[in-house]
């Protein structure tokens, strides 16, 4: 277990380093002068002295590597600078938006499980019969449908035509349903296929045959003996696709006007608010690596053999 954590921490450092270098470089390559942005040069008269003073204050007159070093030092103290737009610290901006995105992600994942598990089990139980074909078609649709379009269609029917669910806003449970479904559906149906494949594999294992031969009830065999082995590949793929899941969250936040991290990022892009973009990219990188660490650790809970294999090493 220790090795796993160690590897992930190393990865985290590598990721953060690449990301910081990446965003820093991009920021320097970016067109437009941030000093003019901050001084709101479009609307006000800005003198050369004002510019030079701010440039000096922000350290922009220093060589690049010193700027980078300074920036890194600040980064280690969780200081990402101030938003050009609001003037508030970026960390503060991010933290106020974080709970909203977390809520969306949480509900989307819950909904995803509620679809994936029954659908996967159901189609494994009736292989090549209509439930299986049904889930196969759903997965194809899920993999082919643009999620924002699915969201638009859902809004159109449920909010405008039927008027049963609100089309936007946050705070109440009915408002969560459509965004969570939009975000979760695509993954749910694809993971259901993975779960089905895993179940078919594990249900054909000898230990399942042996458990049947001992008279164990079918539902116990499915959930206690076969399910654990079947969920592992689903978890692996989930860890790998977590990034695109967060990307999907951006689209859904825009679509349903949720003021989460994604909305913040898009706003920042449209307003050239570089520190906020930087903060967002770094934070997401951290999330992805940490989430993968959780996925790694959950292996140990699911399959106790892993622990002993490692101890033997």
């Amino acid at each position: 277990m220790f090795t796993i954590i160690k590897n992930r921490v190393i990865q985290l450092i590598v990721v953060l380093f690449i990301l910081s270098l990446f965003t820093f470089t991009l920021m320097k390559m970016a067109p437009g002068d941030p000093v003019l942005t901050i001084l709101n040069a479009d609307e006000m008269v800005v003198t050369e002295e004002d510019q030079a003073e701010l440039r000096n204050k922000l350290g922009f007159d220093q060589p690049l590597y010193i700027q980078y070093g300074r920036w890194m030092l600040n980064l280690m103290q969780f200081d990402l600078g101030k938003s050009y737009m609001t003037g508030k610290p970026v960390v503060e901006e991010l933290l106020t938006r974080l709970p909203i995105t977390a809520e969306l992600t949480f509900f989307a994942l819950t909904l995803m499980l509620c679809i994936t598990v029954p659908l996967g089990v159901w189609s494994a139980k009736y292989v090549n019969r209509w439930p299986d074909q049904f889930s196969r078609i759903l997965a194809l649709v899920g993999a082919s449908i643009p999620s924002f379009w699915l969201g638009l269609i859902l809004i159109y029917f449920f909010a405008f035509k039927l008027g049963v669910l609100p089309s936007s806003g946050i705070g109440s449970y009915p408002q969560i349903i459509l965004p969570a479904f939009t975000l979760g559906f695509t993954y749910a149906v694809i993971y259901a296929r993975l779960l089905r494949a895993g179940l078919l594999q594990s249900l054909s294992e000898d230990y399942v045959y042996a458990a049947r031969a001992r008279g164990v009830k079918e539902w116990r065999i499915l959930w206690l003996h076969a399910f654990r082995a079947a969920i592992l590949p689903v978890l692996t793929i989930f860890g790998l696709s977590l990034g695109s899941f967060l990307g999907g969250a951006v689209v859904v936040e825009i679509l349903f006007s949720w003021p989460g991290l994604g909305s913040l990022a898009i706003d920042a892009i449209l307003n050239r608010d570089y520190p906020v973009i930087q903060g967002y990219v770094l934070l997401t990188g951290v999330f992805v690596v940490l989430a993968n660490l959780i996925v790694d650790l959950s292996y140990y809970v699911i399959d106790p053999r892993m622990k002993r294999k490692e101890e033997a090493l």
Partner: protein
């Protein structure tokens, strides 16, 4: 307890009954290619001509699917949009393959420290969602189609390199490669003659399945305003254009969305068919 089922006779894979979906995929694909190639010459109206007196008009003989908020023919824009959406996607996937395959061949064949460094780097980059990277690049360099393409290529090539690398690693110690070495073949020749043919079909499957994903990414980002900019008739951008009107004129978003859906579906069906046919393991 495993009873071996008799193997079904070798019928060409797209004629098999269970591959009905794949047949549909191929038919869709052919239609899409035809539309892309000859579409611009047969569109009833100019896709860029705005006609404010005809805005948001219902389908008619002049405008088969009606007009958008600027009075442009939706049908014509869809047809021409196919070219830009598919053209961009094809360009992205080809670029990715051209970068990813050679690097994978070389890294896999040489191995050693180079390989270790690469794998660490790849793990690092793969932890970053391509979507987020695209946002970063679009954010710093300004939203445009070119920047969007750069960001997708930047992330995607790694997947190809990884696939190619793993195949090369599993092949390079096999006896026939050894025999070729003993026979005096140069490394270059071994890579070209023995390694490259091995990676063609897995990469083709990967690319076919990726086309769908790239189309979805491009259109999602265009929808967010980070990709194709108006008035380009790109499907995602069309959806974004129609967003303010979609309560009153839902067809503005229904048609481009359907277009994206069917094209992606066609590529997914073909990709699955190819994967089954060549028995390539999904990653």
């Amino acid at each position: 307890m495993n009873i071996q089922m008799p193997r079904i006779n070798q019928i060409p894979f797209f004629f098999k009954k269970q591959n009905l979906l794949i047949q549909c995929g191929i038919i869709f694909f052919i239609i899409i290619i035809l539309i892309t190639l000859i579409g611009p010459f047969i569109v009833p109206n100019d896709p860029f001509t705005a006609n404010m007196s005809e805005r948001l008009s219902p389908p008619s003989s002049v405008y088969p699917l009606g007009t958008d908020h600027m009075g442009r023919c939706i049908f014509s824009r869809l047809i021409v949009g196919a070219q830009s959406t598919l053209g961009i996607t094809a360009l992205v996937v080809v670029t990715v393959a051209l970068i990813g395959i050679p690097i994978g061949l070389v890294i896999g064949y040489i191995g050693g420290r180079l390989d270790t460094v690469f794998m660490r780097l790849a793990d690092g980059i793969l932890a970053l969602p391509e979507f987020i990277l695209a946002i970063a690049i679009a954010g710093f360099l300004g939203p445009s189609l070119t920047n969007l393409m750069i960001s997708i290529v930047f992330v995607k090539w790694i997947a190809y390199t990884r696939v190619v690398r793993s195949i090369v690693i599993s092949e390079r110690n096999k006896d026939y490669v050894l025999a070729a070495k003993v026979g005096g073949s140069s490394s270059w020749k071994i890579i070209r003659r023995h390694m490259f043919p091995q990676v063609v079909s897995p990469v083709l499957v990967l690319a076919t399945l990726d086309i769908g994903k790239v189309i979805l990414t491009i259109s999602s980002l265009s929808y967010l305003g980070l990709g194709a900019q108006p008035p380009a008739p790109e499907w995602g951008a069309m959806l974004n254009d129609g967003r303010p009107y979609f309560q009153s004129a839902p067809e503005l978003m229904i048609y481009p969305g359907l277009a994206i859906f069917f094209v992606v579906l066609a590529f997914n069906l073909m990709g699955e068919g190819l994967r089954d046919k060549w028995d390539v393991k999904s990653r």
